[in-house]
C-alpha cells in the first residue's frame, strides 16, 4: 500500500510573521505502514502530525508540508523513496524510519546528498559510532541502550541468574549482547528462536527445566504477544519473573496480551504516566485525537516533530545554511515528553531510563506504571567512537 498524506496548512499569522518563506518546508517521512509492524509507523506518523496540528499545521511557526511514504519494511524501497523525494520534490529534511535495516540503507544517501535525517526510532550501532554523521540526529535511542537498561534493571532487581531468548537475527543478537553487558548475574540458558516461529512450547519447557531467577526475552510485535501468552499458559509467569526492554511491551502489545503481562518488568525512556507538562499536553491531545493507546513510538514521533520545530524556528524556516540549522538542532531546545533530554557528542540522546511494571489499573485492565529509575543522563556505548 502506498500512502501519501500531506498536511498542508498555511496559517495566516505565520505567513504575516515570516513573509520570506511563503513556500512550506517539505518534510519527507519514510516509514513502515503495511504488514504486521504497520502500527509502529502509524503511531510515529500520528505522533508527528499531532505536534504539527497543535501548532496550527506549522513546525515552530514555520508552515510545513509532511509527505508520508510507506517503505513496506524493505530497505530497497526506503532508499528509492528517499532518492525520489530528494530529486523530484527537493526535500532536504527527512524522518520516519522504523527499522534499522531500512535506516542502514536509506540514511547514508540522505545525509550524503546534504539533507538532514532525524530518527524517530531506529538507532543502529554502525551509524552511532564510526559511521556517525553531522546531519544525522537520533531522537529516540541507540538500539543497544534499550537492552542495556533491561540488563541494569534485572541487576537492580537483584536477580542472580537469567535465561535469555531472542530471534536469530542481528537485532536479536544485539539485544542479548546489550542485556549481558549490564546484567551482573549468571546466564543459565541462551536460546535463539527463529523469526518465523510462532510456537514457543519447546522453549518454555527448557526454561522450566533450567529454573532461572528471571527471564529476559526480546520478541517484537506479534512474536512477543505469542511468547507472553504461552509463557503464562505454561504457568511460568507465576514462578519466573520476566524482564524486557520497551520494544517487547508497548501499549498495543499490552492490550493484545491482557492479564498475561501482569508483573512484567519493563525498562523504557518514556511512559504514558510521566508527570511533566509536555507529556500531559501530549497525552491529552493524543487521547482526544485517537481512539487507541499511546505507544512510545507515538511519543518519539511527537518529540521528533518538536526537535525539528525548535531548529526551524531558530533559522526562520530556512535550510539554506546547514551549519546554522545543525547548531540549532544540537541545542535540543524543546520540551521533550520524556522530561530531560539532550544530544550527546554523536547526536544521539542523553536521557534517563526508567523501570516500569505492568500492574492492574483503576479500571481493572493491566497498564504500565513507572516505578523507578534505571539510568540517569545516559548516552550510549558508541559515542566515544564518533569523530565528527
Amino acid at each position: 500500500m502506498s500512502f501519501k498524506g500531506s498536511v498542508l496548512a498555511l496559517a495566516a499569522t505565520a505567513l504575516v510573521a515570516l513573509p520570506a518563506s511563503a513556500e512550506p518546508v517539505k518534510i519527507g517521512m519514510i516509514t513502515t505502514l503495511s504488514g504486521p509492524a504497520g502500527y509502529l509507523g502509524q503511531d510515529i506518523r500520528d505522533g508527528f502530525k499531532l505536534a504539527m496540528e497543535m501548532e496550527g499545521g506549522t513546525l515552530g511557526g514555520v508552515p510545513a508540508e509532511l509527505i508520508v511514504e510507506d517503505d513496506g519494511l524493505k530497505p530497497g524501497n526506503g532508499r528509492q523513496i528517499a532518492e525520489r523525494l530528494i530529486t523530484n520534490e527537493g526535500v532536504k529534511l527527512f524522518t520516519g524510519i522504523v527499522f534499522s535495516n531500512v535506516a542502514g540503507a536509506t540514511v547514508p544517501d540522505i545525509v550524503d546528498s546534504g539533507g538532514f535525517y532525524l530518527s524517530p526510532n531506529a538507532g543502529p550501532s554502525n551509524l552511532a559510532g564510526k559511521g556517525c554523521h553531522e546531519n544525522y540526529f537520533v531522537v529516540s535511542w541507540q538500539n543497544d541502550s534499550l537492552h542495556e537498561s533491561a540488563g541494569q534493571n534485572a541487576t537492580n532487581l537483584g536477580y542472580k541468574s537469567a535465561f535469555v531468548l531472542a530471534p536469530n537475527y542481528q537485532a536479536g543478537k544485539d539485544a542479548i549482547a546489550g542485556f549481558k553487558r549490564y546484567f551482573k548475574g549468571d546466564i543459565v540458558g541462551e536460546i535463539y528462536t527463529s523469526l518465523d516461529q510462532t510456537d514457543f512450547a519447546a522453549e518454555m519447557a527448557q526454561i522450566r527445566a533450567a529454573k532461572p531467577e528471571a527471564v529476559f526475552q526480546f520478541h517484537p510485535g506479534g512474536l512477543g504477544i505469542a511468547f507472553l501468552r504461552q509463557y503464562q499458559q505454561a504457568g511460568l509467569s507465576e514462578t519466573v519473573p520476566m524482564v524486557v526492554a520497551a520494544p517487547s511491551m508497548d501499549g498495543v502489545t499490552l492490550a493484545a496480551v491482557g492479564d498475561a503481562a501482569l508483573g512484567l518488568n519493563v525498562s523504557s525512556h518514556w511512559n504514558s504516566d510521566f508527570d511533566n507538562p509536555a507529556n500531559a499536553a501530549f497525552m491529552k491531545a493524543w487521547t482526544a485525537a485517537y481512539d487507541r493507546p499511546a505507544t512510545y513510538y507515538a511519543s518519539q514521533g511527537y518529540d521528533t516533530a518538536l526537535a525539528m520545530a525548535s531548529a526551524l524556528k531558530a533559522t526562520g524556516g530556512s535550510l539554506d545554511d546547514p551549519a546554522a540549522f545543525r547548531e540549532a538542532l544540537r541545542k535540543a531546545d524543546f520540551a521533550s515528553v520524556r522530561g530531560k533530554f539532550a544530544f550527546g557528542p554523536n547526536q544521539h540522546p542523553v536521557q534517563n531510563w526508567y523501570a516500569l511494571k505492568v500492574e492492574k489499573g483503576a479500571d481493572g485492565k493491566p497498564e504500565l506504571k513507572t516505578v523507578g529509575q534505571v539510568f540517569e543522563d545516559r548516552g550510549d556505548t558508541y559515542a566515544a567512537e564518533c569523530k565528527m
Partner: protein
Amino acid sequence: MTLFLEQLLNGMQLGVTLFLLAAGLTLIFGIMGVINLAHGSIYMIGAYAGTYVAATTGSFLLGIPAGLAAAALTGIAVEFLVVRQLYDRDHLDQVLATFGLILIFNQAITMIFGRQPLFVGLPDALSGSVELLPGLFYPLYRLAIIAVGLLVAAGLYLLINRTRVGMLVRAGSTNREMVRALGVDIRLLYTAVFALGALLAGLAGYMAGPILAVQVGMGEQILITTFVVVVIGGVGSVKGAFYASLLLGVTDTALRAYLPGLLRQVMVGPEADALGAGISSMGIYLLMAIVLLIRPKGLFAGNT
C-alpha cells in the same frame, strides 16, 4: 523423561495444527490441481471472525461457529469467483491469482480491524494445567487442541474411506477425468472440497488465536510449513498429510529443544547456540529434501 514427554506433546500439538491446514490444502491441490496460496488467508479470516465474536460476546464457544462459518463462506466465495476460472490454467496463473488474494485479504482485514492484533483470552474451563504424570504439567488448552485435531483426523478418515462423497474425493484425486466422464457433478464436488478445506483452516486459525497473535499476515507465517507437510505427505493424500504433520511437528520441536544442547557437548557455547538455531530452523526443509530423495512423490502418494 518428563521433559521429553512434554516436548513430544508440544510436537504433537504443532503437528495437529499443521494437519488441519494441510488436509484442506492437499485435497485442493490433489483433486483440483490448484495451488491455493490464499489458504493461509482463510486461516487468518477464521481467527479474526471467531476471535471478534468471542471478544464481543464473551463466549469462547460462540466464536467457533463464527470462525468456521466465516472461513467456509470465504472459501466458497473464493472458489466460485476466482479459483473456478483457473482450473484449466497453469500453476503460475493460479499462484499469481491466489497471491493477489493474500494481498486483498490482508488489506481488507487491516481496514476492518486496524493494525493492532486482536486480544483473545483462554476459555475459563481450559485455562489451567493438568498433571499428566507426576511432575509433568501440561496446559489444558493445548491438550484440547491435540484432542480436536485427532478427532478431526478420525472424522476425515471416516468421511473419505466410508462415505460416497469420500469415494468421489478419492476417485477425483486419482483420476479427475474419469470421474467427470462417469457423470459426477464435478463442480459441486470441487466447491464442497474447497469449503471443507477452508472450514478446517478456519478451525485451526480460531484455535491458534489464544496461543499466537491474531494479526494481519499470520497465515503466511504458517503457509510455507503447511506446503512442506503437503509435499512430504504426498500431494492429495490426507493420510499422508496426517503422518507428515505429526512427523514435522515432532521433528521441529525436538530439534529446537535438543540440538543446541547436543552441540554444546562438542562445541563452545555461543557457537553451538547459533549453529543449533540455524540447523533447527532448517530442519523441516532438510527433512523434506531427504524424503524427496527417497520417495520423490512423498510418503503416501497415490494411495489415499
